[in-house]
């Protein structure tokens, strides 16, 4: 066996697996310091790979993300309490006084109260894009938006999940969220949207009704390039 053959035999390998070294290789190594050094390096590297080949425990990602988001919500509820006690309610109203959540197709009907009711009709048993506009008086770099749907509504692909929460940055002016909503009954249900920014929080509510015939006001889910 020569050095090239020795190296070639070592190259055939899987990550972190353990193979027998052939007799020919062993004999060659006894006479060749270079190949012995090469083998040692190979063994150490293989060992380090093998040591690292551990499976992540089940549910790892869920546990880690759940605790992280719990910290975020604890922090925001704490600061909200402080803000309230410090009498910052006025500031809250100033901040959000012109943040309105409206039906995109009736842009002239802003919900200017803390709790606003807007009614929207969507076809039953069909996924429709429900556009929601948030108008912000200034850019807000970090807000938390939560959407809660009543039992007869769901978000497409969610298998009955009706509560979403995510962080976003709001631009000054209009910001659009397109929610792919499925309405299960004519009665429809409520959609509650909460926008939190720093110490402040504002809740909006609107009603989604089920409609037997499809409405002109909604876009099919297939048209995802609105």
């Amino acid at each position: 066996m020569n050095c090239t053959e020795f190296h070639q035999q070592l190259e055939f390998c899987e990550k972190g697996s353990v193979n027998s070294l052939s007799k020919a290789q062993a004999e060659h190594m006894r006479e060749c310091e270079l190949c012995e050094a090469y083998w040692q390096k190979h063994v150490v590297c293989g060992f380090l790979h093998a040591v690292s080949s551990v499976d992540a425990p089940a549910g790892l990602e869920a546990r880690i993300l759940a605790k992280a988001s719990q910290k975020v919500s604890e922090n925001s509820s704490q600061s909200r309490k402080v803000s309230w006690l410090a009498g910052a309610v006025a500031a809250s109203l100033v901040l959000f006084s012109s943040v309105w959540l409206i039906d995109l197709f009736r842009p002239e009907s802003p919900a200017s109260e803390q709790m606003a009711q807007v009614k929207v009709s969507l076809p039953i048993n069909q996924v429709s894009i429900l556009p929601v506009m948030i108008e912000s008086p200034s850019a807000l770099p970090q807000v938390t938006i939560s959407v809660n749907l009543g039992p007869s509504l769901s978000i497409e692909h969610y298998n009955g999940l009706r509560k979403l929460s995510w962080q976003a940055a709001l631009n000054e002016g209009a910001n659009i969220i397109n929610l792919p909503v499925l309405v299960a009954s004519e009665k429809g249900d409520k959609v509650i949207v909460t926008v939190e920014s720093g110490d402040e929080m504002k809740t909006y509510e609107f009603l989604v009704e089920g409609q037997k015939n499809s409405s002109k006001n909604v876009n099919s889910i297939n048209d995802s390039t609105i």
Binding site: E14, S20, L21, G46, F47, I64, A168, A169, I176, I226
Partner: protein
Amino acid sequence: MKRAFSFALTPSPITSHFYLSVSTIISFMHKKTFEELFAPQIKPLFKVAYQWTLNSQDAEDLVQELALRVVDRVDEMNAIEKLRPWLVKIMYRLFVDEIRKKNARPLAYEHLVDEEVMKNLFVDSGSDPEAIVAIDQLGRELIANLKQLEHEQAVTLFLFEVEGYSLKEIADIQSVSEGTVKSRLHRGRKIMKKQLDTGTLLSLDPC
């Protein structure tokens, strides 16, 4: 400005975490959420943390601690081009702090349970009893060597040999010069090669 976006869910403790795969267009989402940014990093980070701790629970705790540290830094995370080394660097600082807190000696793996590591070695040893004995012997020698590494050396070795980081990247992660990284690699390898002789008739293959 419009941009395709998939929602990241805040996971409930019962259901496992998942993403909403709906392609939704949200005009204000110029930035990714924490979940979007961090979720794909969890498993690779766990592997790195495991290399440093050689214990699943400690590795998970380390990644958890990291998540709690960076969850408020979404803007920064969005701006970073290479997120993994940035996260590994913060995780390394947490790891070093943890070692200091426990007042542990520089040996990273002094509490290492040999059998835990041995499990990982018997991937493809076949049924040849001689080979099994030889692997066992080689494995135990290597574990004994591993326990002699200082944690800085061990971290350097794993980052370089297994994770494929460059000397420059490792220097940044460990906040030292490239020269220091080189000498840690050199000394680490030397310790790992101790007593490795050809009598074992075995090879442990890298990738």
